[in-house]
C-alpha cells in the first residue's frame, strides 16, 4: 500500500500543479502579506494619552535598527496595508520591523477585516485614525480604524478586542457607489460654536452633536491644527465625488453599516471644449494657441508650456506632407463624443485643488475643495496625445507636485510652479505633465521643445519601458550647516560662482572633481523629484526641481551644440564647479534622471564615444583597412564633417574617440578630408543627450530595411488585369505589385523611386526575391512547360543563396525588382528587365507561389543602431482617406527631420562638408559622410561600416526586487521616515525605498 501511495504522490505531484504534463510544482513562499494594495501611515507614541496616541508623521523617524514592538520610548511608524485577496488591512510596525498579528489566539497572521476589495486607505494628518474604502460591488462602504486599536497594549489578547467587521465603525456607500479612491480634506471654515473652532457639518441644519465622542474615536486633537477632516470619495460608477465627515464616521456605533451621511455631492462632467464640425480640434496644436511660451533656459527645458510639437495640421511644406492632423475618424465623422465621467484617482494639492483622473472621459477633473462643503468645479485638464490626436486619452494614477521654482538651478527664480503628472492608461502607461501653476494658461500636456533632437520619444509624454502603476512627488534634502551653524535647506547650486566660492554655501554641494566622491551627481538627490513605480518592478526618478541642476554641465563650453545657451556670444565661458559633463541638458525638468555622469573617460561616465574607429567590412564580412595612399579610389570611407565651426572646447566631446575628450590628441586622425584621413570616424550630436545609448552602429550599402531583415512573405500581382505570367510577356506588358498586408510598407520606411528622386538618390528601394523555386518534382513545372523550366529559372534568377542581381545597366533584373512607388499595403515595382533577351523567363513563371522577399535600399547606405534601429520619416499620405492603401510620402514635420537612416554616398572629388551642413548624414545621434570610391561595384551590396558607440544616457530606473519579482501597486512618500512606501502584490509585502541611497532598505512581509 505504501508503494501505491508513493507512486501516486509522484504522479499526482506532477499532475496537480497544473493540468498538463511537463509542469513543475510551483514553489509558493508563505508570506503574511498577500496581494498588498495601498498603504497609509500613522505615527504613534504612548507617552501621550493612550486614547490619543497619534502625532504627525514628521514626528516619527527612521531608526538604524528595529525597535521592539512594545518599546514605545520612541514613536513608531505604523503602516496600514490593504490586503486585496483577503479583504483585510495588515498592520505593519515599521519601526519594529515586523508585521503585527491582530489576533494571536489564531494561528498565522491575522489582520483587520474590512470587507472585500479594499480600494483606498488614508490616515488623518495627526494619525488619530485611518479610513479604508471597500469596493465590494454588493457592499461598498468605508471603515474607520482608530489608532488606539493599533497599539500593542490594545492588541486583542483579550477576546473582547479581537478585530472583526463588527468592531469597526463603518458606513455604507450608495448603490453603485464602489469607491476607487479617497482623500482627506481639512475644512478650515471657522465656527465659534463647533468643537475645535471649525465648522462641524456642511449644513447648518445637519443634526451634529457637539458632544465629544469617546476619546478613542475622536479627532478633536487634530481639528484645531488641520481643520475638520472630510473624506472626499470617488464613486466612478456614479460619476461623482461625495464628501463625508470623518469624525461622524469614526464615532459611529461599531458593527453597524448604515448609509454614510453624505454632506455634499460633486457631480463630475466631461467638460471638454465642444467638438464636431466647426469646432477647433482638441489637440496639442490647439494648446499652442491657448498659451504658447517656451523655456528660456536649456537646463530647464525638459518640457515646456505649449511648445510647438509639430507643424500645422496637414499643411504641406517643402514638398512633403506633414504627419499630423489626420486620424481615423469615428463613425459619425466628428471628434470624440463626450463620455460619462468615471473618476478613478485623486490628487490633492496644498492649495485646495483636487485633481481627479478619469478612465472613461478624456478629461482630468479639477475641483476646488478648499471649502469641501461648497466645492467648485474648475475647467478640466485636457489629456490629449500629439501623436494620436484622435485617441480618447483616459487617465489612471495621478499626482500633484508641491510648488517648485520656475527655473531649475536659478537662485533668483520664484517658487511658483506646480505640476500634475497623470498616467495615460492606454499609451503603455506613459505620463503626461500638466502645468497647473496659477499663471498657467494651458490645459493640455506640456511638450518638449527638443523634439527635433530626440525624435524617438513622444513629444508630450514621459514614456518608460513599462507602464507607470503609480507615482508621487517627494522633496529630499541633505541639509548642511551654514557659517552660523544653522542647517540650511533649499540651497541652490551654482557652477560659476563669484569668488570666493568657499563662502557660498552651495560650494559644499559641488560635484566631486573625481566624479566618484560625494557631491552633486546623478545619485545625489537634492530637491523635488517624481518617483514612478513601474509595472515591471522598477522605480524611475524624474527631475522636477534639482537644486544641483546648475552644476551638471560642461566645464568650459557654452556651445549650442552641447545643448547650452551661450552666456556670451562667440566666446566660451568657464564653469569651475561644473561636473564636466558633455551636455547642458543632462538635468532637465520632467525628464527621467540620468543614472550616471554624462561624461567621458570612464565606463561609469557615459558620454558618447567611439570605442574604436568604424571598421569597413566587405560583402564577405572581411575587414578592409583604409590605405591613405589610394586616394579614395578603391574603398569607401566614413568620416565625420569638418569641425571648424564647432567651438574648440566642444570638439573633444563631439568627436570623442575611446573616451578621450581632448580633441587635439586625435585631431590628426579625425580628418574630414577623404584624401587625408587616416581612419574612419563620426561626430556625435550632443544637443539632446537622451538620444544616445550605447550601441553598435551599422552602415550597410544597399542594406536590408530592418523590417525585412529576416524576409517576409508576399505575393506578386499584375497591375494590369491579366494573369501573372502574361503580365510580363504579352504585347502590352505591365508591371507587378507586391502585396503584403501585414508589411505596412510606409511605416517600415520603404521608399520608391519617387521619394528617392526627391532626395537626390539614384534609385528607389529594391525588392529582392528570396524564395527558392518549386521543387524539381513539383507537378507545377509540367503546367508551364514551354514557358519556363526550373533550370531556365535558375539561369535567369540564380538560386536563393547565389542570386543573380540587378546591375547598374539593368537594376530591375535577376532577383531584384526596383520599387517605383511605395504604398502602405503594396509596392509598385518597375517592369522587370532581363539580362538575356533571348530567353525571357517570366518572374511569375519561375516564382508561382507567394514569394519570400526582402526590401533593400537602392544605391544607398542603411544606417541602423542595434538599439535605436532604423530611423525614417516616411508615412502613409495623411491626405488619403484610407491610410491602409495610401502612398508613402516623406513627412515635412521638422520635428522628425533627424529621423534619418539613409545615407547617400559622396564622391571623393567633391568638397568637404562642415558640421551640420547639407549633404552630411545627420541623425539625432550622428553626423558623417560616406565617401564612395569612383564607383561601387554591384557586388558591394551588404558591405558595411560598423562601430560601437560607448556611453549613452542611462535612465535612472531602479529595480525593486533583486531576487524576486515585484509588482508595485502604489507609491507614496512618508515624511519623517524619509522613505518611499511601495506595497508589492507578489511577495515583498511593503517595500521601503530610501531616496538617499536609491535602494530598498526594508521589506516587510
Amino acid at each position: 500500500m505504501r508503494k501505491v501511495s508513493l507512486a501516486f504522490v509522484s504522479l499526482v505531484g506532477v499532475a496537480f500543479t497544473w493540468a498538463g504534463c511537463s509542469q513543475n510544482a510551483a514553489t509558493v513562499q508563505v508570506r503574511s502579506l498577500e496581494r498588498s494594495g495601498k498603504a497609509a501611515f500613522l505615527c504613534l507614541r504612548t507617552n501621550k494619552p493612550v486614547d490619543f496616541p497619534g502625532q504627525p508623521l514628521e514626528g516619527c523617524f527612521s531608526v538604524a535598527s528595529p525597535v521592539g514592538a512594545d518599546d514605545y520610548s520612541i514613536p513608531h511608524t505604523i503602516a496600514l496595508v490593504t490586503q486585496t485577496t483577503r479583504g483585510e488591512v495588515a498592520v505593519v510596525d515599521v519601526t519594529a520591523g515586523a508585521v503585527a498579528d491582530a489576533n494571536k489566539t489564531i494561528p498565522g497572521f491575522n489582520f483587520l477585516p474590512v470587507g472585500q476589495q479594499p480600494s483606498a486607505i488614508v490616515a488623518t494628518p495627526g494619525s488619530s485614525a485611518a479610513f479604508v474604502s471597500v469596493a465590494d460591488p454588493l457592499r461598498p462602504g468605508i471603515f474607520a480604524i482608530s489608532s488606539s486599536h493599533l497599539l500593542p497594549s490594545q492588541e486583542p489578547a483579550d477576546a473582547g478586542r479581537v478585530p472583526t467587521l463588527s468592531t469597526l465603525a463603518a458606513c455604507a456607500l450608495p448603490d453603485g457607489g464602489s469607491p476607487s479612491d479617497m482623500v482627506l480634506v481639512g475644512d478650515m471654515t471657522k465656527s465659534a460654536t463647533d468643537v475645535g473652532g471649525y465648522r462641524a457639518a456642511c449644513s447648518a441644519t445637519a443634526p451634529v452633536s457637539n458632544a465629544s465622542p469617546s476619546p478613542a474615536f475622536s479627532l478633536e486633537n487634530e481639528t484645531p491644527l488641520y481643520g475638520r477632516q472630510k473624506l472626499v470619495v470617488a464613486l466612478p460608477a456614479r460619476g461623482e465625488l461625495v464628501v463625508i465627515d470623518a469624525q461622524n464616521l469614526l464615532a459611529r456605533e461599531p458593527g453597524t453599516f448604515q448609509a454614510c451621511d453624505i454632506e455634499a455631492t460633486i457631480s463630475l462632467r466631461d467638460d471638454r471644449p465642444p467638438s464636431g464640425p466647426g469646432a477647433p480640434p482638441l489637440d496639442a496644436a490647439a494648446s499652442v494657441a491657448e498659451g504658447a511660451s517656451s523655456a528660456s533656459d536649456p537646463g530647464d527645458a525638459g518640457f515646456a508650456d505649449g511648445a510647438a510639437v509639430v507643424d500645422a495640421n496637414g499643411a504641406p511644406s517643402d514638398g512633403g506632407v506633414c504627419a499630423r492632423g489626420v486620424g481615423p475618424a469615428l463613425s459619425d465623422g466628428s471628434t470624440l463624443p463626450p463620455a460619462d465621467p468615471h473618476p478613478l484617482a485623486l490628487a490633492l494639492a496644498d492649495d485646495g485643488r483636487l485633481f481627479v483622473s478619469d478612465d472613461q472621459a478624456s478629461v482630468i477633473h479639477v475641483v476646488d475643495v478648499a471649502d469641501p462643503c461648497a466645492a467648485t468645479i474648475l475647467p478640466p485638464l485636457l489629456p490629449v496625445s500629439a501623436a494620436e490626436p484622435w485617441r480618447r486619452v483616459i487617465t489612471g494614477a495621478i499626482a500633484v507636485s508641491p510648488l517648485v521654482s520656475s527655473t531649475m538651478g536659478d537662485r533668483t527664480a520664484k517658487k511658483d510652479k506646480r505640476f500634475v503628472y497623470a498616467v495615460d492608461v492606454k499609451d503603455n502607461g506613459s505620463v503626461m505633465i500638466f502645468d497647473v501653476s496659477r499663471d498657467s494658461t494651458t490645459r493640455t500636456p506640456l511638450s518638449r521643445p527638443d523634439v527635433q533632437f530626440n525624435p524617438f520619444e513622444p513629444p508630450d509624454r514621459l514614456a518608460l519601458g513599462s507602464s507607470v502603476k503609480d507615482l508621487t512627488f517627494a522633496t529630499h534634502e541633505l541639509p548642511v550647516a551654514g557659517p552660523d551653524g544653522v542647517l540650511r535647506r533649499e540651497v541652490i547650486g551654482n557652477a560659476n560662482p563669484d569668488p570666493p566660492v568657499e563662502n557660498d554655501l552651495a560650494y559644499k554641494y559641488r560635484p566631486p572633481s573625481d566624479l566618484v566622491s560625494a557631491g552633486a551627481g546623478p545619485r545625489t538627490l537634492r530637491g523635488t523629484f517624481a518617483f514612478l513605480a513601474l509595472s515591471n518592478g522598477q522605480v524611475a526618478v524624474v527631475d522636477v526641481d534639482d537644486y544641483d541642476a546648475d552644476f551638471r554641465r560642461p566645464e568650459n563650453s557654452d556651445s549650442e551644440l552641447l545643448g547650452c545657451t551661450p552666456r556670451v556670444m562667440g566666446e566660451e565661458s568657464e564653469y569651475p564647479l561644473a561636473s564636466q559633463e558633455a551636455s547642458c541638458r543632462v538635468v532637465e525638468r520632467h525628464r527621467v534622471r540620468s543614472a550616471a555622469y554624462f561624461s567621458n573617460n570612464s565606463s561609469l561616465r557615459r558620454a558618447p564615444t567611439m570605442q574604436a574607429p568604424p571598421i569597413f567590412y566587405d560583402q564577405d564580412k572581411t575587414v578592409r583597412s583604409i590605405d591613405p595612399k589610394n586616394g579614395g579610389e578603391l574603398l569607401p570611407r566614413m568620416l565625420g564633417p569638418n569641425l571648424d565651426n564647432v567651438g574648440i572646447n566642444a570638439r573633444g566631446l563631439v568627436a570623442s574617440l575611446s573616451g578621450s575628450n581632448e580633441f587635439s590628441k586625435v585631431a590628426s586622425d579625425l580628418n574630414a578630408n577623404p584624401t587625408q584621413a587616416k581612419s574612419n570616424w563620426v561626430a556625435f550630436d550632443l544637443r539632446e543627450p537622451r538620444a544616445h545609448v550605447g550601441q553598435t552602429w551599422s552602415v550597410v550599402y544597399e542594406g536590408r530595411l530592418p523590417r525585412w531583415a529576416q524576409g517576409s512573405q508576399g505575393r506578386l500581382q499584375c497591375a494590369a488585369d491579366k494573369s501573372a505570367i502574361a503580365c510580363e510577356t504579352d504585347a502590352d506588358p505591365s508591371h507587378f505589385d507586391l502585396y503584403d498586408s501585414s508589411a505596412a510598407f510606409c511605416d517600415s520606411g520603404a521608399e520608391g523611386a519617387d521619394l528617392a528622386a526627391a532626395q537626390g538618390i539614384a534609385s528607389g528601394d529594391v525588392v529582392e526575391i528570396l524564395s527558392d523555386f518549386p521543387d524539381l518534382n513539383d507537378p507545377y513545372w509540367t503546367t508551364v512547360a514551354g514557358t519556363c523550366s526550373r533550370s531556365e529559372c535558375e539561369i535567369e534568377y540564380g538560386l536563393a543563396d547565389k542570386p543573380v542581381r540587378g546591375t547598374g545597366a539593368a537594376p530591375s533584373s535577376g532577383r531584384d525588382l526596383v520599387v517605383e512607388k511605395a504604398y502602405q499595403d503594396h509596392l509598385a515595382l518597375r517592369p522587370h528587365e532581363r539580362t538575356s533577351s533571348a530567353k525571357k523567363k517570366p518572374v511569375a513563371c519561375c516564382f508561382p507561389y507567394p514569394i519570400r522577399y526582402t526590401v533593400r535600399a537602392g544605391k544607398q547606405w542603411i544606417v541602423t543602431g542595434s538599439v535605436t534601429g532604423f530611423a525614417h520619416h516616411v508615412l502613409p499620405d495623411p491626405s488619403q482617406p484610407d491610410p491602409s492603401i495610401a502612398a508613402c510620402v516623406l513627412s515635412c514635420d521638422r520635428n522628425l527631420a533627424l529621423r534619418n537612416g539613409r545615407a547617400a554616398g559622396r564622391r571623393s572629388t567633391m568638397p568637404v562638408l562642415a558640421f551640420g551642413e547639407e549633404g552630411v548624414f545627420r541623425s539625432a545621434q550622428l553626423q558623417f559622410v560616406v565617401w564612395e570610391p569612383k564607383e561601387l561595384d554591384p557586388s558591394s551590396r551588404d558591405s558595411l561600416f560598423q562601430f560601437d558607440e560607448g556611453g549613452g544616457f542611462s535612465l535612472m530606473s531602479i529595480s525593486l526586487g533583486t531576487t524576486s519579482l515585484v509588482l508595485p501597486q502604489s507609491i507614496r512618500y512618508v515624511p519623517g521616515l524619509d522613505r518611499l512606501a511601495i506595497p508589492d502584490a507578489v511577495a515583498q509585502g511593503l517595500l521601503l525605498f530610501n531616496p538617499g541611497s536609491l535602494s530598498v532598505t526594508q521589506a516587510l512581509f
Binding site: V4, F8, A15, R35, Q116, A135, P137, G429, S466
Partner: protein, 544 residues
C-alpha cells in the same frame, strides 16, 4: 509491485516522457466526470459537453460526454435562481447538505449524475451521449458554422440561427496526438423555420458523433485529424503535446499550440473551406518559435475586410499566441494564415507576422490563456448598418480597440491590453499591454463573459482561473479592477458561461466535478460563489 502500482509508474513515466496512453486498463466509468479539462455549452443552452482526460491513466481512454443541460438547470434552479444559500434550497433541489465545504464550496451536497434527484419522475439519464478518446485531452472547443453573411461576426452568435448541418466539437488530445472532432447539434432557434429539413435544426438531440458507434465506442480515425501523414501534402503528423486550440472567425482554420515545444499546428478545411465541412487537414507545423506555445486566440477580421473579402484585400487571418519559458524579452506573437490559393496545389501555411513585448510586467515568461474581446468592434459595426455611409462607418470601426487579456503565471497576474488595427483593410494589428493586475497563484485560463447586475442588465466581466489558489478572479473591464473572487474547489481548470441564465460551470480538475456559479448580482448571499456541485467529487486516489 502490484498491478496498480505498476500502472501508476507507467502513467508517471508516460507523463514524463510524452503523455501517450498505454491503452491498458478498464473502460472508463460511464456517466462520470474524471479529471475534466474542457467544458463547452451548445449555443442554445441544451447541452453541456465535458472532456474527461483520464489524467492518471486509470482507464484505457478519456471520454467526451454530452449532458442534458436544460434538465440540470431545472434541477438546480432553487440554488441559482433564488440567492438562497441555506439548506432549505438544497432540499428544494432534492440535494443533501455539503459535508465537505472546504474542499467543495457550497451549501448543498453533490448532484449524483447516476442518481439525480428527479430520477423518479424522469428515468432518462442526464448523460445523454458519450465517446471515448485518447487520454490527456487538453481543451474542448465548440464551433458553429458562421453566417453566410460575412459581415456577421462569430461562429456561434446568439443572435444567429441554427445551421442544419450542425456544429462540431474539437478536442486536442495528447495521448494519441490528434485533433479529435465530433458532430454535434446546433440548437440555436430556427427563424424562420426551414421547410424541407428532415431534422428540424435547432433541436437538441445530444448528437455526439465521432464514428464511435462502429468503433467500439472509440472515436474513429475519420474523426481524428493530424494522425495520418497521408492526409496532407507535407506528410505531417501532429507534434507531441497539443494544448490549446482556437478557430478563425470564418472557421476556415484551426490553430493548436504545443506546450512541450516551440511549435504551432495549422489545420484547415478542404480547399479553403470551413473546418466544419470535412475532416480538417493538418497543413503546416510552424516550428522554431522562441518558447513553448500555450494560449491562442483568433484576431477578429476587420469589418471592411469581411465586406470586401479576404482575397480582394489580401488579408490573412491572424492568431495571437502566448509563450511559456521564452528566453529574453517576454512577448506575444501574431501568426497569420496564408491560404496559398495561388499555388497548385495550394498548401496553406503560417507565417510569423509580428511580436509584441509584454513590457508591463516584471516577467512574462510564463503566459497562458489569452482572450480577445471582439464585441466592441462588432457593436460598432452593427451600429453602422443601414447608414448611408455604411462602408466608411464600418472602416472607422476598425479603429475601435479590442480588449485583450492574458493570464500570466510569473508573477501571477492578468495582463490587460488592447488589439489595435490601424489600417481598416490591412493585416497590421498592434497589441499593447498596458496593465498588470495582480492575482493569486496559478492563473491559467481567461474567459470573457457576463454577470447580471442588480438591475437585470448583463455586464461584461473577465474571469481568470487560478488553478493553484482555487480562485476565479472576476475582473471588471469598465472599472479596471478585480471586483470579485469566486472561491472554488481544488483545481479549477475550465469555465463556460451558460448562454441563457446568469450562471457558469467550472470544471474542477483535481476532484473531478463541475461547480455551478451564481452570477446574478441581486443574490446578495450567493453572487459569485459556487452554489451547486454537479457530479460526485472524486478525490485523486492517493488522497483517499
Amino acid at each position: 509491485m502490484g498491478r496498480l502500482t505498476r500502472r501508476t509508474v507507467i502513467a508517471a513515466l508516460a507523463i514524463a516522457t510524452g503523455c501517450y496512453s498505454t491503452g491498458e486498463g478498464p473502460d472508463p466509468v460511464p456517466h462520470a466526470i474524471y479529471f475534466p479539462v474542457g467544458l463547452a455549452v451548445s449555443p442554445g443552452g441544451g447541452a453541456l459537453y465535458v472532456a474527461n482526460s483520464d489524467f492518471d491513466l486509470q482507464f484505457n481512454s478519456g471520454t467526451v460526454e454530452a449532458y442534458d443541460l436544460a434538465r440540470l438547470r431545472k434541477i438546480l434552479e432553487p440554488l441559482w435562481s433564488t440567492g438562497d444559500a441555506t439548506v432549505r434550497a438544497c432540499a428544494a433541489a432534492g440535494l443533501g447538505v455539503n459535508a465537505t465545504p472546504v474542499l467543495q464550496p457550497g451549501v448543498c451536497g453533490p448532484l449524483d449524475l447516476r442518481s439525480p434527484p428527479d430520477a423518479a419522475s424522469n428515468p432518462e439519464p442526464i448523460v445523454k451521449a458519450s465517446a471515448r478518446i485518447g487520454a490527456f485531452a487538453t481543451d474542448l472547443l465548440y464551433v458553429c458554422h458562421p453566417s453566410e453573411d460575412p459581415t456577421r461576426r462569430g461562429s456561434c452568435s446568439q443572435s444567429g440561427t441554427a445551421d442544419p448541418r450542425g456544429s462540431r466539437l474539437f478536442v486536442p488530445v495528447r495521448g494519441d496526438a490528434s485533433l479529435t472532432f465530433f458532430e454535434v447539434d446546433d440548437d440555436r432557434p430556427v427563424t424562420p423555420p426551414e421547410p424541407g429539413v428532415v431534422r428540424p435544426s435547432g433541436a437538441q438531440t445530444f448528437r455526439l458523433d465521432c464514428g464511435q458507434a462502429a468503433n467500439n465506442g472509440r472515436c474513429a480515425d475519420g474523426h481524428r485529424a493530424g494522425v495520418d501523414a497521408h492526409d496532407n501534402t507535407r506528410g505531417l503528423t501532429l507534434p507531441a503535446e497539443p494544448f490549446a486550440i482556437a478557430v478563425s472567425e470564418r472557421t476556415d482554420s484551426i490553430l493548436v499550440t504545443h506546450q512541450g515545444s516551440g511549435s504551432v499546428s495549422l489545420f484547415t478545411g478542404l480547399g479553403g473551406a470551413s473546418v466544419l465541412d470535412a475532416k480538417p487537414a493538418l497543413q503546416y507545423v510552424l516550428g522554431g518559435l522562441p518558447g513553448f506555445t500555450t494560449g491562442v486566440a483568433p484576431l477578429p477580421i476587420p469589418g471592411s475586410v469581411a465586406r470586401l473579402g479576404l482575397a480582394a484585400t489580401n488579408y490573412q487571418p491572424g492568431f495571437v499566441i502566448t509563450y511559456r519559458g521564452i528566453p529574453g524579452i517576454p512577448q506575444v506573437e501574431i501568426l497569420r494564415v496564408f491560404d496559398d490559393s495561388f499555388a497548385a496545389p495550394s498548401r496553406p501555411f503560417l507565417s510569423r507576422a509580428a511580436a509584441f513585448p509584454l513590457q508591463s510586467t516584471p516577467s512574462g515568461t510564463d503566459s497562458r490563456g489569452i482572450a480577445i474581446d471582439s464585441q466592441p468592434r462588432a457593436a460598432c459595426e452593427a451600429d453602422c448598418e443601414g447608414r448611408s455611409d455604411e462602408n466608411t462607418c464600418v472602416a472607422a470601426c476598425s479603429q475601435v480597440a479590442l480588449p485583450a487579456y492574458i493570464a500570466n503565471r510569473s508573477p501571477a497576474s492578468l495582463l490587460v491590453g488592447e488589439v489595435r488595427s490601424p489600417d481598416p483593410n490591412g493585416a497590421s494589428d498592434d497589441i499593447t499591454i498596458y496593465e498588470t493586475v495582480p492575482l493569486a497563484q496559478g492563473p491559467s485560463r481567461v474567459v470573457v463573459g457576463n454577470i447580471r447586475d442588480r438591475r437585470g442588465v448583463a455586464r461584461k466581466r473577465v474571469f481568470v482561473l487560478a488553478f493553484d489558489a482555487r480562485i476565479i478572479f472576476v475582473y471588471d473591464p469598465v472599472e479596471h479592477r478585480v471586483d470579485g473572487q469566486i472561491r472554488t474547489g481544488r483545481g479549477p481548470y475550465s469555465l463556460v458561461m451558460d448562454p441563457i441564465e446568469p450562471i457558469a460551470y467550472v470544471g474542477h480538475f483535481t476532484d473531478s466535478y463541475i461547480g455551478l456559479v451564481d452570477l446574478d448580482e441581486s443574490h446578495g448571499d450567493t453572487f459569485e460563489s459556487l452554489v451547486a456541485t454537479i457530479g460526485v467529487p472524486n478525490p485523486p486516489q492517493e488522497s483517499k
